[in-house]
Symmetry: C2
Subunit: 453 residues, 2 copies
Amino acid sequence: MNPYTTYFERHREQHLAELKEWLSIPSISALSEHKEDVRRAAEWLKDALTAAGLEHVTLNETDGHPILTADHLHAEGAPTLLIYGHYDVQPVDPLNLWETPPFEPSERDGKLYARGATDDKGQVFLHVKALEAILKQEGRLPVNVKLCIEGEEEISSPNLVQFLDDNAQDLAADAVLISDTSLLERGKPAISTGLRGLCSIEVSLNTANTDLHSGSFGGGVPNALHAIVSLLNSLHDEQTGRVLVDGFYDGVLPLTEEMRGELSKMDYDEEKLKADLGLDTLFGEEGYSFLERTGVRPTLELNGVYGGFQGEGTKTVIPKEAHAKITCRLVANQDPHDVLAKIERHLREHTPAGAKLTLVPGETAFAFNIDPSHPFLQKAADAYETVYGVRALFTKDGGSIPIIEAFSRVLNAPVVLMGFGLPDENLHAPNEHFNLENFDKGLLTLVQYLKTV
Amino acid sequence: MNPYTTYFERHREQHLAELKEWLSIPSISALSEHKEDVRRAAEWLKDALTAAGLEHVTLNETDGHPILTADHLHAEGAPTLLIYGHYDVQPVDPLNLWETPPFEPSERDGKLYARGATDDKGQVFLHVKALEAILKQEGRLPVNVKLCIEGEEEISSPNLVQFLDDNAQDLAADAVLISDTSLLERGKPAISTGLRGLCSIEVSLNTANTDLHSGSFGGGVPNALHAIVSLLNSLHDEQTGRVLVDGFYDGVLPLTEEMRGELSKMDYDEEKLKADLGLDTLFGEEGYSFLERTGVRPTLELNGVYGGFQGEGTKTVIPKEAHAKITCRLVANQDPHDVLAKIERHLREHTPAGAKLTLVPGETAFAFNIDPSHPFLQKAADAYETVYGVRALFTKDGGSIPIIEAFSRVLNAPVVLMGFGLPDENLHAPNEHFNLENFDKGLLTLVQYLKTV
């Protein structure tokens, strides 16, 4: 029997009690009234890492919340891993939808409910306890380890890239290890080898200087809603599902048979997806499966459109303005700034006569991609296989974690995404929770990885 | 000198004091907390009409606010006029934009400010005092008069058509006289010979059973906003400005050279309109002027479109639903129910795959049209000319007053729209007012009309 199995069973209650203590601290980075709570959560982690035996445990001040670093660098000749995670959490509204209070951790049906349980305190905690276990059991670590745990991930990490730039030497590592993602489903571990990039833009059209009455003016003046409907409709080919912005697909790599094969291994059930979402039909770019469309193809989505009267009943108004919010998910080799410039040009060229266009570009993030044949990834898949009995699949995720691309670029190191959440654990929503099956297996998997990488 | 000029000058202060008293009663028909105020305004008018010498002054109960009727039928051989108006008023929000409180009437620069000053208490009051003046000066009226003044015009007259149907015999008249419209501009009287009809419909599209995250699903599922943009864009030809609903223009009469000539008499300044509204360009159906587009051509307008995220910043959501509110202004020979049916068919046929359509049809109103050569209209133009020194123009108005078509149809009588407001008197808005120049001239014009019709 794996001695670590015994170790973690013996310490399970103690570990869960500690995690609950940490989860009780409402470290909501987005809300200034929780600034001190965010710091308390950082201090808590500092103490926990110190107790675990990590060295140089330091809270690094930033313009926002502190970044915690630590290391343990005594495994001469062994590789160096940089472990990244975050101790801040999402806001909790709507509070009334929580079955138990978000900052009073509660176990039910083998799940631990609390804000931050899976995203990301629970997963960071696995690293703390895996390192502690090895140090306590063996007196040394089989690899060199650095930690970089921030408190601003949920507000787009405004200070982390600068911190990475300033401390690139100190943070240098052979690989970056992050546990902030999910298994595919229960018992099916996955290592993401791709995350999409992102860019966003807000669009406004203005016509007259005032709302007008449709009796006196209807049919004789531009209507901002007609204009925005026409403008937004120009963005897609309704038949093929393709984005019609000139050059949008520039640089997008064709889908190889190899990648198509890797994705098809996931044996994704599109019929079940349709049933779950109540959809008659899926929709997307012609010639691609759902996983291909969301994993390796870019998309341009309207996230909000609004203008004119939204109340009950009828109002015979010709609105003077209309608005839209657009985000794109981007893939390898698409530069988000270049894509934004192309969208801006398209919108300018397609603005109907009589309407004035205002554009406010927003966030940008590059896509992240890594070759699954990299040894650090293969060993991660091995570690999962040892503990879960199933080899991890290499997936492409549709979402964006901008900071991952930054780690990859600034530190010039492969990023290994070993997540232990599940897709339905309500992260960013009420009743966030962490399945304790993956708490237990996560600890063992991380120990296994650290000992074999 | 016209003896009525002297009479009205002598009684001016008294008349204005009475009108202010009436305007002080907040008879907002839309708000149930003002139900008693609406009745008080009706009682006030009942007393005023009785004092003026009208007979059979009666408050007729309805399911809503009462309808006031009265008559004076002693001019044997002379025609009978039915005078219609309303004593209810619009709500007053936003209250903070009023320079003086809406129910504390206040004179400034020759204008009387109060909610209802021009719409329609002030104009109804002109009829009360014109009738009173003739009765006091001459002891008799030159015509037979009936009055029907309701308290629900601002909430679409839910009980009036039934009342007209039930009392068609008692309300029978040779013409219906209404003062609830405006001059073209200061010193330029107008008699509307056309009002557009109306129909409305609310459109909803639903895709998935929940909002989805654009990272995990973007590019792979239908987006309700993409669907509604496509659907709404199908309604118009962007180049020609024409409505693309099959059969929408069925029955619309071609614009005759005669009507075009009548409208061009108004010498409408489109450049000034553009400057006033801050527009680079007007827009509408190809081949028509602004007055033609808004006066004798139908239109389909989006009054509201909304779905997804409207807050600050970015939210990477794929909305599960999107909504639009549509109204049409219709012209002669268009049946609003038929037009609605055609729009519904169009929307069903153009709903993109993956979206479910829900339609809620709303109001309908037929257009109103009258031949300006009718003697009752020509004499109205004469009366204006006598008092204003300028002959009234016969106009086509873009707006809809559904009740006018009902009067015309149920009573089978011509409707004479002799209005004394001005287009910029802020009806339905803060700082509603009535120009006292037209208060004075209105009294004289109505006396002149009653004596000569």
